[in-house]
């Protein structure tokens, strides 16, 4: 099961300190950790929400750091891409997986599978024993759709103003956080449904 899906920045932002990441979209699939564990029982719902947000920020920061270090080590120089080059941009995207130890930030261990496309990264936080091959494939597919449907290679503001598109995408390709074994026909069928929604 996927714990959450994030879209966040991996470029320096003037309003934030170095290494901080701006979370543009987040969707958590699990119920609140506080409901299930004995921890944090004394917190109010507001505080729990804040805690959830902080945990996601921690994940985004860790992925940001991983992306920066990977790019630095590879000596990669990023060239600005224009709309229309989605397929190319995805092919050259950096991908990786970061181990999130138990307690940092989630109660149990998790793996953050990420795909960094220029200044944005798409991250799936999975359970540690998850089928990472499947997670990787699903993430690529999700990223491609996000890039295309939200026109992320352009201004990129649509991810903030049209977040329902990502919700619908997730409800088909990652329902309740379930990774699906979709061959190209099944995927096509779901994509048609999604496209129908997007065109409204």
């Amino acid at each position: 099961m996927v714990r959450c899906f994030l879209i966040h920045t991996v470029c320096p932002i003037s309003a934030l300190s170095a290494g901080e990441s701006r979370l543009l979209y987040s969707r958590t699939f699990s119920p609140d950790e506080a409901v299930l564990t004995e921890q944090h029982r004394e917190l109010s719902p507001e505080e729990r929400r804040l805690l959830r947000k902080e945990k996601l920020a921690v994940v985004a920061r860790q992925v940001h750091s991983a992306v920066s270090l990977t790019r630095e080590a590879a000596g990669r120089v990023l060239v600005e891409a224009v709309p229309g080059e989605e397929a190319l941009v995805l092919q050259e995207a950096d991908g990786g997986v970061t181990r999130l130890r138990a307690g940092d930030p989630f109660c149990e261990e998790a793996s953050a599978v990420w795909l960094a496309v220029h200044s944005l990264a798409f991250t799936l936080v999975c359970e540690p024993h998850e089928n990472l091959l499947l997670a990787e494939g699903s993430l690529r597919s999700l990223s491609r759709h996000c890039l295309e449907d939200l026109h992320l290679l352009g201004q990129g503001s649509e991810v903030l103003l049209k977040s329902s598109r990502v919700d619908v995408l997730l409800s088909r390709l990652l329902p309740h956080g379930q990774l699906l074994f979709l061959n190209h026909r099944f995927a096509q069928s779901l994509e048609k449904e999604v496209a129908g929604y997007m065109s409204k």
């Binding site: 099961m1 804040l50 990977t70 903030l160 409800s171 099944f186």
Partner: protein
Amino acid sequence: MYSHGSESLIRQAREIQDSELQKFYSRLVKLLQFKEVSHELVDSLHRLYLILFANKYSRTLPSELQQNLVPLLSSPSEQLQVLSSAVLRETLPPCGEEKNIAQLNSHAAALLLSQAGSKDDLSDLCAQIIRSLEIRPSDGPTPSLMHTLPFVNSILTHCPECLTADHVILLSKKLVDWLRYASIMQVGGASSGGFFSGSRSRQPAPIAELDGTVSGDFFTVLCVGQGFTEDQWMNVYSFSMLRHWLLTYRGVSNDSMVVDAANRLQLSLSFSHSLSNDDRSEVDGSVVSMVSATSSSSRLLSPKERLREKAFQYCLRLIEQCDRKALKKTDTDLQKACLVEAVCILDVLCAEDPSLVYRVFPCIKALFGRLSSDLSFARVLLPAAQFYLNHGEMAAVDCESVWKLVFSQFPAELFNDPFLAHDFLRFLRLNLEGLQRAAPHFTRYFPNFLKFLAWDSPATLEDFVDLLPSLVTAGSAVELLHTLLDLPCLSATLVLQLRSTSLPISDSGSRGLLSLDAFRNPTFRGLFLFLLRTEAGSGDTIERLSTLHSLLAESAEWPRVVHCAQTVPVLLHIYFNTVITVADEKLLAHLILAMLERSNLLLNMPTYCKEIHRVFSSQLVRLCKLHPSLVVDQSQELLEFAGTTANVYSKEEVYTHVVWVLGEYLSLSSDSRCSVRLITSCFESLEAVLFEVTSSAPPPGSVCPAPKVITTLMSALAKLASRSHDLIPRVSLFLSKLRNVTKGGSVPWCSDEEDMVAIVTRGEELWSLLKTPGVAQSVLTPPPYVNAPRWHRDANLALPLQLRALTALTHSP
């Protein structure tokens, strides 16, 4: 991609004024009351979501607005469902309000899941969803089943006790139906025929395999068709959650033994009826293939056991299907993912029912044989290796070839694949105990494992912090130390190796030209081959290390090498923490010598040498503290090091600690072999160095030694003198000379006023101490029991205990 526009949107959302916000809310309420899906409504809902999402601190919506949003969850327009679910998820759930949502679509269910306040809420929700699975077509229009299994899986992940035993039985039966007995006909897709195709319906065609051939067995995720029926979709959803289901309910046979027996009885009773509608598994219309034919009779098994049997058949069929060449690349990737999943499921099944091992092993073995020569399937072979590890003993299979492939080949050729690195290190971490039992020689492959670290240290460091202790063995400890110290060189070599294979030999425009030439040069081949070795045991290190370091000099600035160098001190600390538990004195002596030797022989990187020296210093002191006799044992080498004045300038930190160690532990109380002659010769070496250092300026290119070096030397001399009183006059003479020299103003060997004061003060303290040799001896060479006082811990003498005892005695009746 991320622009000022986005940044300002977020700022606006956060800084919206309260009055404006209230106006926005009322406008929105009005729009909602119109009950039509206008563009303005959708836009406003999106903006509301952004306002809520962009804030860390939650906002409460006015209750009127909230009340108007809830009905949208059941709206016929999916857009409104999605938006209302998203908005409500970002707000706090209203207390005490019952959410009665008639039809649980995917978005409403998601909201209820995220806002569940307790496990009871989750149980109720779960029960509601599972009930929808039982609705028969005759009862009215059935809601879409599509999101039910993922939902159940989500609950299963976080709160498995929310499913009752009945639910489990029901779902097991349903899963069996969907996995094994889904329709094998295609739903005709939209006819793309032309004008003349007419309204004749097409004959339903059978489903096909990924390579285009017609399918000859039951439906799986690797079957394609123009369109799909609902049960074929459920087949996909069922398989997607199957492993997790089996993992959750394995070994739960204890309390369900009774249930199982009852089920058997029920099953046998039900067979006396004719075909019932809801148990389609009685109608086996699929074409029988080899897989199904070899399955055991599933007539009298409990639902759980039947599910296991069907899961087994499904996995075998998948493995068979993955042998076909898919026409599309995404399908090839899916095949790999399916292989991993199938092998993992078979592993779980065999763990629960060991009798399956004999049926499964031939299949896994064949798979391994087929894929072992193709490194692109490495990530599939790791679960297979896990299977061998878990069940190889039981099947009495020789696993040597598996370990050879996994430990010897994978790291050497695939070190730069981040996903394989993650999977591989995870495999090692989780199976340390098992490997130590089944393949204890795996520790020999540490040079290979460290390639993952050398290539991508930030991503793999955490794993190595966990793994390194297991790789430290007495037999290979020295080699491991050298390997750790040369990790930056390994990093550089791996970079060169990849560059060498990807760039043509005559390419002269590339960076790193010198080191690349050296890499390709046959004269230096041996050096690089040693670094790239896969197994330990062929020597601790190489003789021409300094040559290697100079060849790789330019790599000191490569980011990958720099990242790697930053991890070495941490690893060294972990190494030493472990090595002291497995090493005897002889080995520790060897390590001390290695440290002294290597303090000179490190890749020349600015902070790297300093950091390593720091580690060496602290570890040297620690080892000597644990085994003081080591100092006397290795006195010759230590004296050689301490007697070389150049070391004061080039390895200041290590030098200081060597001198300290000599001063502290070169005594009779540490080791009975310590003779007066030894003390005297040590004294003379140190004295000579001290004279030299305090009589002239530092050599060109070096800085003045830190005061700590001088004071440590002086203290060491004083300590040695206190053990052999003939030496005291010499020390005293030196110290008084020192005082006189410094009175005359600045000296060439000390630039700072305060440092000078510190040195002189220490000198005076020692001088006055040495005036009374007896006192000096007790202060500077205290007997061991002084440093480890025991009497304070003796409970019998503790005052409070005495008092309590007396009180108890005197106050007892």
